[in-house]
């Protein structure tokens, strides 16, 4: 039985995806020899996306024809130039234990509250800005960057009153306000304000789906998924019928929609049609790209995505905000020591490699990494783990990070009413400073009640 040649491509993709899904892993890589569809116009920025082992998905590029899309990227690239600042937002999901990341090992109260989980003095590097604190041994890479003045630490960041729900607290951080009903993300609102309607790459989720912090009201943003995503293959369907069929799939997305759910379905079809139009040229195998980082990244999806991001920035793709999830979950109600250590080790190692890669490519002046989590955990341990808490740890990493701690560590003798760490800085103040000092945008246009927050110096 004859099958079209596209079936070979599809088959490989299926196997890759299946293998990836079964292993619980993320993006499979492009294989050498994967067929390159005919077509011209392959350029550096496009094939580097492929070298990321990923195709690009575009969200909300509603008013663009494929050609406008390509031109829009080029135009945004030209307008922004290589000096455009980039913020890379990295989420430590589940609420990481700040008291293990920067452990107050010199405090007597710490040993009392953490008889099992407490880290031993000398196990990790001393935090030079507050010698009562010690870096977790798995965060030694961060300590080294801190020594170089490239890490701004927030040892007790949060908001008051603390909501100890994962989902409410995470949502607050994502939408940049204490409003359970807000829908646009804080980065999405920045992009709605400062973005280019022709540049979906300005907000880039390196994940299977779009990060809520990037949710926009009007501007297009993008997500990266797997290599198979740029084709839509079907049984017994080939040229000359498949082209018009796929165009019709997209056209179905532009019709009237009588309800929000129907509109979401139509919009997704429309945007998928755009992606398909655009993806045809986004093809080149990794071998042909010639882009090899000079640093060695560790294995794993997170590191691979960071490596891809560095390559994309090197190609001057017009990215303003990128979003990733760090390795693992930090919701360590039990078995915390091993889980936290393993996840932190992998995350920090990849981040250090990313920073070194940026430095080697001379991109480090342009990029700031924000490491955040929805809250810190309870000082008093519950056996082998810790419950939800309040004040947590956040970091800004980058050559241009001010490198000066924001808010001191408040100690464990004075806890809040729920026996949690009292925050000494507000995440919204961090956002306001980032918007103004990094992006050069008026924070009040993005963060409600921005005037009520301090502006810590975050950038040099």
């Amino acid at each position: 039985m004859a099958r079209s040649c596209s079936c070979n491509d599809f088959t490989r993709s299926q196997l890759l995806r299946r293998g990836a899904a079964m292993a619980g892993k993320g993006l499979p890589r492009i294989e050498p020899g994967m067929p390159v569809p005919a077509g011209t116009g392959i350029d550096r920025r496009t094939f580097l996306l492929r070298s990321a082992g990923a195709a690009l998905s575009v969200y909300g590029a509603s008013m663009l024809s494929p050609r406008q899309f390509e031109e829009g990227i080029a135009r945004a690239q030209a307008a922004a130039g290589p000096s455009q600042p980039v913020l890379v937002s990295i989420f430590m999901e589940g609420g990481w234990d700040a008291l293990s990341v920067l452990a107050p090992v010199e405090e007597a109260k710490y040993k009392e509250l953490r008889p099992a989980l407490g880290l031993a003095e000398g196990a990790g590097r001393v935090f030079s800005e507050d010698e009562n604190l010690m870096w977790h041994p798995s965060a030694t890479g961060l300590a080294e960057l801190h020594d170089e003045g490239k890490v701004t630490a927030f040892p007790a960041v949060g908001y008051e009153p603390q909501d100890e729900s994962h989902f409410t607290s995470r949502h607050y951080w994502e939408v940049g306000q204490l409003d359970a009903n807000a829908r646009s993300g804080w980065l999405g609102r920045y992009l709605d304000l400062a973005g280019d309607p022709a540049n979906p790459l300005q907000g880039l989720s390196l994940d299977y789906s779009l990060a809520p912090a990037l949710a926009t009201a009007t501007m297009p943003v993008a997500a990266v998924s797997s290599p198979a995503d740029y084709t839509m293959w079907a049984n017994g369907l080939d040229e000359p019928i498949s082209g018009p069929a796929v165009a019709t799939f997209g056209a179905l997305g532009s019709l009237a929609a009588p309800s929000p759910a129907f509109a979401q379905a139509r919009n997704a079809s429309y945007d998928t049609g755009l992606v398909l139009d655009t993806m045809a040229s986004f093809v080149k195998s990794e071998e042909e790209s010639g882009d090899k980082p000079s640093v060695t990244y560790p294995a794993g999806d997170f590191a691979e995505r960071l490596a891809a991001l560095a390559a994309m920035l090197h190609a001057e793709l017009p990215i303003k905000c990128a979003s990733l999830n760090a390795v693992g979950s930090y919701d360590t109600h039990s078995s915390e020591a091993g889980t936290l250590s393993a996840n932190l080790e992998q995350t920090v190692t990849a981040l250090v490699a990313f920073q070194r890669d940026l430095e080697a490519r001379k991109l480090d002046q342009r990029v700031l990494i924000q490491l955040w989590s929805e809250f810190g955990r309870r000082p008093k341990e519950n056996g082998s783990g810790t419950d939800h808490g309040a004040g947590g740890a956040a970091f800004l990493i980058g050559t241009r990070a001010a490198g000066k701690m924001v808010g001191e560590f408040p100690g464990l003798t004075k806890l809040d009413v729920n026996e949690n760490v009292v925050p000494t800085s507000d995440f919204r103040a961090m956002y306001c400073s980032l918007l103004e000092q990094w992006f050069g945008t008026e924070a009040g246009l993005v963060i409600p009640e921005a005037a009520s927050f301090e502006r810590p110096v975050l950038v040099t």
């Binding site: 729900s165 056209a251 009237a256």
Partner: protein, 528 residues
């Protein structure tokens, strides 16, 4: 060549049995439906080419959440559609939202029947479910091994969704899996996940109080939210918080304090289990030695509470009924219930002894169910519905990863709050649904290039007949007039006449396959 492809290769190509039998009744129904759409959106012009859509961002849809200050419960019943005759559109919506989509002929069988009677046939099944059709198998024809093989848990349940004659039971089981969302990533035992699944199924329409108590001591849940790591020496708050926030009361409503979380955790202490390399986690039990037998104050009430009290205190909390009925409502109807309806449903719920069945019946009979806006169809429901519509049994385990790509692998929700029902569709997941649809057709598509001796596809099929045949392939799904026109335009224009004689049959086969894909993946098919 994939296993799917091999399967398709082995199977002789046969005309779809339903093809060409679209009845006049069905055509009339479609015509009527289209007329309704045209009335509603009469300014619309059918698009022949891609047109620029209005600006749209990437915001989630809004689903109802229980208000912080709900109205008091009322004993007056909520409005109901009663015994009016079920329309075609209503039948489609009911079968997609209360089950997993219509099988061939099912809509026609229900149209014209009294609404209430049809709904009761879903909510009041008798006896054990009947699974009609071939048993589920993998690519090689082997029985599934849901307790051990990756993805076969997903396919085992998908089979029940496809074949069970008690569709609402399966749909409620699916809802409860999201309500009490446990993932095998942490539980790490497919058998324990299947046991929990059977628990949901057996209590899907019973008392929520009984169900909540059973879930609280269910081994998968005890592992997932650290119930057996919660002792009087080291209280662990994980289950205590989520049982209030996600399962019974809701966040940000002032229903409980952080002190309640702590006291609730103490109340729940006492569960243990053993572990061995051979058996994994086993011997789940309540051990009074591990229970904190002191006084605890929860919601202002003080006593020596235990896990049974913990559940009772939650379901008797003044904000529980409004939480329960609103959350359940949101799985069936995307617009929020009115104050009066919320009051009535709360009264019905508490007055019936926390009966899930009573509330589901009222929701399905509510005019908002039939008259309100569309609801997004979850990926698993979409997949099951396509299989049902062509009567294809589970004969591959590919559905597990295909569905995962579309955003939903059964037994692996992303976290304890379940899947995000407000953001099902984006450019990644829309494409993944196309992939699902393509797989569904893999054993029944006409091959444009049949081997010598195999029958060729019609070389003369007209566009209208092609479209009608493609609709029949999927058991005549409901498309909006605009979408059907757009697809009809494609059917009309995609063959560039004059065709060479060798092109006539293959290109018509391709057109048929394209039409089937466009119908199955149309935005209309992602909502009900």
């Amino acid at each position: 060549m994939t296993r799917e492809g091999q399967g398709a290769k082995k199977r002789p190509k046969a005309a779809h049995p339903e093809r060409g039998k679209r009845t006049k009744k069905q055509r009339d129904h479609h015509g009527k439906h289209h007329a309704e759409h045209k009335t509603r959106r009469k300014h619309h012009k059918a698009a022949r080419h891609r047109v620029a859509a209005r600006p749209h961002g990437t915001l989630p849809v809004v689903l109802p959440t229980a208000p912080a200050s709900p109205p008091p419960a009322s004993s007056s019943p909520a409005p109901a559609v009663g015994s009016a005759a079920l329309t075609l559109q209503q039948a489609h919506r009911l079968l997609w939202r209360a089950g997993f989509g219509p099988g061939p002929g099912q809509v026609d069988a229900l149209v014209g029947q009294p609404c209430q009677q049809v709904i009761f046939s879903l909510t009041r099944p008798s006896g054990a479910a009947t699974l009609t059709g071939p048993e589920p198998v993998d690519e090689e024809g082997n029985p599934l091994d849901p307790a051990n093989a990756w993805g076969e848990d997903h396919c085992w349940w998908l089979d029940r969704m496809v074949r069970s004659d008690q569709q609402l039971i399966e749909r409620m089981t699916f809802i409860l899996h999201d309500w009490f969302a446990n993932s095998n990533t942490q539980v790490n035992s497919q058998q324990l996940m299947l046991d929990q699944n059977n628990l949901f199924r057996s209590m899907a329409l019973g008392s929520f109080h009984d169900l909540f108590l059973a879930v609280t001591t269910n081994p998968a849940m005890l592992l997932f939210l650290n119930g057996t790591s919660n002792s009087r020496w080291d209280p662990n708050e994980n289950y205590a918080r989520e049982m209030m926030e996600l399962f019974s009361l809701g966040a940000d409503r002032g229903a409980y304090t952080e002190d309640d979380v702590r006291e609730m955790a103490r109340s729940l202490t006492g569960w243990r289990n053993d572990w061995s390399a051979e058996l994994g986690n086993y011997n789940f039990r309540f051990d009074p030695e591990y229970h904190d037998s002191g006084q605890k104050t929860v919601f202002g009430q003080t006593g020596n509470w235990n896990y049974e009290d913990a559940v009772r205190l939650c379901v008797s909390h003044p904000l529980h009924a409004s939480f329960f009925v609103t959350k359940l409502w949101g799985y069936f109807i995307p617009s929020p219930p009115s104050e009066a309806t919320l009051a009535s449903l709360q009264g019905l719920y508490t007055g019936s002894g926390y009966s899930i069945r009573a509330v589901v019946e009222a929701i399905l009979q509510h005019p908002d169910f039939f008259e309100g806006p569309e609801l997004l169809t979850p990926p698993v429901v979409y997949n099951a519905g396509l299989l049902r519509s062509i009567s294809r049994p589970i004969d591959t385990t590919a559905w597990a990863w295909l569905s995962a790509n579309a955003g939903q692998q059964l037994f692996y929700p992303p976290n304890v709050s379940g899947w995000d029902f407000t953001r099902w569709l984006d450019t990644s997941t829309a494409r993944a649904r196309w992939e699902i649809a393509s797989y569904v057709t893999s054993k029944t598509y006409p091959n444009p290039w049949p081997a010598t001796g195999q029958p060729e596809y019609s070389a003369t099929e007209e566009p209208a007949a092609a479209l009608s045949g493609a609709l029949e392939y999927w058991a005549n799904p409901l498309l909006s007039a605009e979408s059907e026109q757009c697809i009809a335009d494609f059917a009309q224009t995609c063959l560039k006449e004059p065709l060479a004689s060798w092109e006539r049959s293959p290109y018509r086969a391709m057109r048929q396959n394209a039409l089937r894909m466009l119908i199955a993946t149309a935005p209309d098919m992602q909502v009900s």
